[in-house]
Amino acid sequence: MSIEMVVRPHVQNFIDWARDKPEVVVLSADLTNSSEVGRWRDAYPDRFFSMGMAEQNMLGFAAGLAREGYTPYIHTFAVFIYRRAYDQLAMSVAYPNLRVRMIGFLPGILTPGGVTHQAIEDVAILRATPNMTVLETGDATEVESVLDVAQAVDGPVYVRMLRGVVPRLFPRTDPMRLDRVRVVAEGSDVALITSGIETEEGMRAVRTLARRGVGVRHLHVSTHKPFDDPEILATLAGARAGIVTAENHTIVGGLGSAVAERIAEAGLGKRLVRIGLRDTYAHGASREHLAREYGLDAIGIVRGVERLLGEPLGIDAVDLVDDAPVTPSASASAERSDSL
């Protein structure tokens, strides 16, 4: 089994997508190439506006443009959208329900830039923000199709965006859809619900678990809010031993919390193990290192299933069924040098 690795899927896709949408403009705060819109700027210089390193103003500017019928696509690191400028996000953009699209890069541990660059509680905060739609991309197909999903929403949209080398886990013919989960694997012992990069890790864990006789129904979530797909409740109800969630985010307020809310509200009485950052900040290191340190990698998910089942399964990291990544011609190492 092999996984196609796609280099910078957002770059050309966003250029092509915006060609027949003159209402789409881009605002950037000094992270243009880092947010993969440098070539977009060169393609549409009249629709690209540099806001300087000043995010509070950028959110207000976007609100003004949206009030006039434009659809601003803010491109910067996720932390600088919701942490740096939250009052502006809430009062200038979300309260009036304006069509501003906030494309937030470097969700969770996806940056060696350290704690200042790691968006670890954005889903929690923005899920709690009225009028907000919260999306998260998990692969190249979702990076390519999230634009259509966002553009169709009559209100503000926040996107956890992937950049650089991104795996294609789902076929191009199966685009992201609003408030629709993907069923990645079938099984009836355990439900595994993942989002973002945790889906890739979850797929590795599920294949190994299957060899040990543990059947996992694996759902991939790309819409954090709304969170009403009936498939979610059906999956929770059908999970014999309980549920494991995995998110590239703190376990407080994000996917795990949303699942807990559904379990409790439906009176399902199921056990739940939440995998994610356990009420801690992270630090600057590689994705692989941080995923291992905080238990966000495939073996971390296996350990979560073991906790749920209350029994060790005798699986070690070396046992995990790996995919052979297929990287296209452009060099992946070039991506790494751009990682700040």
Binding site: Q56, G60, G64, A66, Q88, M91, Y95, N97, P130
Partner: protein, 309 residues
């Protein structure tokens, strides 16, 4: 409605006097409220609505409706307080009101110029109404929700950019208070509006030297404010905010960049009794029946001079 008189100055002066009287009367009836803001801003608000802003006329003053909900999926077709400014058009101006704590003065202005029904203030701060104490975007004359101060200028700059992209001739006016220049966002907005050359963006600032805790100079000094504004790339005229001719000249000055009219004002103008409470005059509250009686007498004297229709 104020009397329409022979010169624009007399007309504008009458509107300004009407603003002070309506606000003063309302605060006395209410027992407390925002008076000093009307004292300082009456002339600039009167100027804006009688002479400066190019707004579509209304067929009749609007009676404020009930609160119908916040903007969102459950309120399609949501209307903002901009309806009190009439339909928009490419060659008409827009007015974005930043210091939401000045709402009472704004409502009084809208009544004076025939855009809000004369009994509109009956709904002020009333449960279930839209004439809120600290206005939001459902409130008369208010287009965006700016009670968390210093957010309007950025929004107005975005609107100004959109209007320039569409080639519209109308200007985007913002009224601000000087305290808002303590917020970093104001400076981000000025610098960025200048960077984008938004010559269609115009700001009038009520520099009354007052904020919630007292004197601006004691809470967080802003001076030299005009020089600071110019240093951030805007043009700035500093004028006496009660001098109509000076205000008019400053507001009409052509500029190739964002233009700021820094109007120096007196927060006790028209109600000199307020000086006794200075510098804590952000809201007027009476400490004794005797004090209230003295304010009532001052109002009666004002009412003798300023007729409301």
């Amino acid at each position: 409605m104020a009397d329409r008189s022979a010169t624009w100055q007399a007309d504008t002066r009458a509107v300004a006097a009407g603003i002070r009287r309506r606000v003063f009367e309302h605060v006395l009836r209410n027992g407390e409220g925002y008076v000093s803001q009307a004292c300082s801003a009456a002339e600039m608000l009167a100027m804006l609505y009688t002479r400066t802003l190019r707004l579509a006329p209304l067929r009749a003053p609007i009676r404020p409706g009930p609160f119908v909900g916040v903007p969102g999926p459950r309120t399609p077709g949501y209307l903002t307080g901009a309806i009190y400014h009439g339909p928009t058009a490419p060659d008409l101006d827009r007015f974005i009101f930043s210091p939401a704590q000045y709402a009472l003065a704004l409502y009084a202005t809208l009544i004076e110029v025939g855009r809000l029904a004369p009994d509109g203030l009956d709904d002020f701060n009333r449960d279930g109404g839209t004439v809120e104490m600290i206005g939001a975007e459902h409130s008369p004359g208010i287009e965006s929700t700016t009670g968390s101060l210093a957010q309007a200028l950025s929004q107005a700059a975005g609107i100004a950019l959109a209007r320039r992209l569409r080639g519209e001739a109308g200007l985007v006016w913002v009224m601000m208070s000087d305290g808002e220049f303590e917020e970093g966002q104001t400076w981000e907005a000025l610098a960025n509006a200048a960077f984008h050359g938004l010559a269609n963006l115009r700001v009038v600032v009520d520099a009354n030297g007052q904020q919630c805790d007292g004197l601006v100079s004691a809470v967080g000094n802003l001076e030299p404010l005009a020089d600071r504004i110019r240093a951030f790339g805007a043009s700035c005229d500093e004028v006496d905010g009660h001098d109509l001719d000076a205000l008019d000249a400053a507001m009409r000055r052509p500029s190739d960049r964002p233009h700021v009219v820094l109007a120096r004002t007196d927060p006790t103008r028209g109600v000199p009794l307020l000086a006794e409470k200075a510098p804590l005059i952000h809201t007027l509250r009476f400490v004794s029946p005797d004090e209230r009686a003295r304010y009532q007498a001052a109002y009666e004297a004002m009412a003798q001079e300023v007729e409301l229709r």
